[in-house]
């Protein structure tokens, strides 16, 4: 029987290797896999490259992973925020590398990895500092920049419901990077708030099909912003 349900976050994250590239879903308060990030801190892998839209907020989640000194490099679109002090300190003291990528290019580079595309031309960023040193090409009268896929070893994403094959649905704007990150990594671990029987998800409404998911683990919905619901 194909059963991708892990008994615990610890089980789901066993064996993450040092120097891995870890994609972490979430945008703002929505879709951050807090429990999985905490699990990664507990698991202990270091020298990580993290791919996320941001670079951590406050002192929990990704910021805690950074504060623990586990991250060598971060690939993101928007590191600077009101409460990104952990990242800010590491960056200013030269203890973390930053690759800044426009948000849509970040999503598309991750999709390209998942979809087997070797590289693609995007109009985004042409003529800007972020395209410096990159190949460009004039296509049909428009200038494009050549961008390469971002492959990951591990994706940590937060979904809403899942089944034992690994099918996933999301909740509202918590969907964000989950579906593409799941495609782009050798191993994808998703937290869900509910595990349903096989056939319990509408086959027309499954957002991430089982093929992209390695393990799912149930976590309780927290009465926090990151949990989604106010309680």
């Amino acid at each position: 029987m194909l059963n991708k349900v892990a008994a615990s976050v610890g089980d789901a994250l066993a064996g993450v290797e040092d120097a891995a590239t870890v994609m972490i879903g979430g945008f703002g308060t929505a879709g951050i896999p807090v429990e999985l990030i905490e699990g990664l801190i507990a698991q202990g892998a270091r020298d990580l490259t993290v791919v996320n839209n941001n670079a951590g907020n406050g002192d929990t989640g990704l910021a805690a992973l950074l504060a623990a000194g586990r991250v060598r490099k971060i690939v993101c679109s928007f590191p600077r925020q009101a409460d990104s002090h952990v990242f800010d300190d590491l960056y200013r003291s030269g203890r973390i590398e930053l690759e800044l990528v426009p948000q849509g290019t970040l999503a598309e580079r991750i999709r390209a990895a998942g979809a087997g595309i070797g590289a693609f031309y995007t109009p985004t960023g042409h003529g800007t500092e972020l395209a410096k040193g990159k190949e460009t090409r004039l296509i049909d009268g428009r200038q494009y920049v050549l961008e390469y896929p971002i492959h990951g070893d591990l994706a940590l994403i937060k979904a809403e419901r899942g089944d034992r094959w690994g099918n996933l649905t999301y909740r509202k704007t918590a969907r964000n990077f989950g579906p593409v990150m799941a495609m782009a990594c050798r191993r994808t671990v998703a937290s869900v708030h509910e595990i349903v029987d096989l056939g319990g998800l509408d086959p027309e409404a499954i957002v991430t099909p089982a093929i992209f998911v390695s393990q799912i683990v149930k976590v309780e919905r927290r009465a926090t912003q990151a949990g989604g619901f106010k309680q």
């Binding site: 929505a30 990104s84 598309e108 999709r111 985004t124 909740r171 704007t173 964000n176 619901f229 106010k230």
Partner: protein
Amino acid sequence: MIYERRTKDQLAARVARDIPDGAVVNLGIGQPTLVANHIASSREVLLHSENGMLGMGPAPHSGEEDYDLINAGKQPVTLLPGGSYFAHADSFAMIRGRHIDICVLGAFQVSVTGDLANWHAGDTNAIPAVGGAMDLAVGAKQTWVMMDLLTRQGNSKVVPVCTYPLTGVSCVKRIYSDLATLECTPGGLRLVDLVDGLTHAELERLVGLPVMPPPRSPAGP
């Protein structure tokens, strides 16, 4: 001459007036967000939020916030009936693929030919952050900028050539400012409208650049 700057709400109302019914619009973080408040509820404009939503509604009532339902500025919002959720790659496919009719962005500088600088004030010590600005600037069918015409020091933010790092090249079509509405054209700036009491000549003095008159009579402020 006596003239008054448009307040932020007047400016937002001015922008809202130019948005056609049925348009798909992305409102950037900050000042552009105000535009939504000035689209009459009798009109249907589809608001797109690049974090994965079309048909965005107003902010929820206090106490009804759902932190899985936020806009690109990470504030709680609502979804209108007919709205939909989608993933980031799909959302930016909409943007890059020129499916957004109008995107309204803030700016540090705009050049006469529509180059936009809005992501980095050029301070080499600053931590850079770009978000979706570059995708929106070049992806929308029309990119509009909404900003004060002058800096606090009285310098024009409309410039011959941007000195701040660029967000996009030749991408701004219109500049909605507190003093005037301008169009960026390959031939340079063209006036759309002025606040009452501000003359064309005074505007040109403030901007320090020639401004072509509107093709026909300008719309009121």
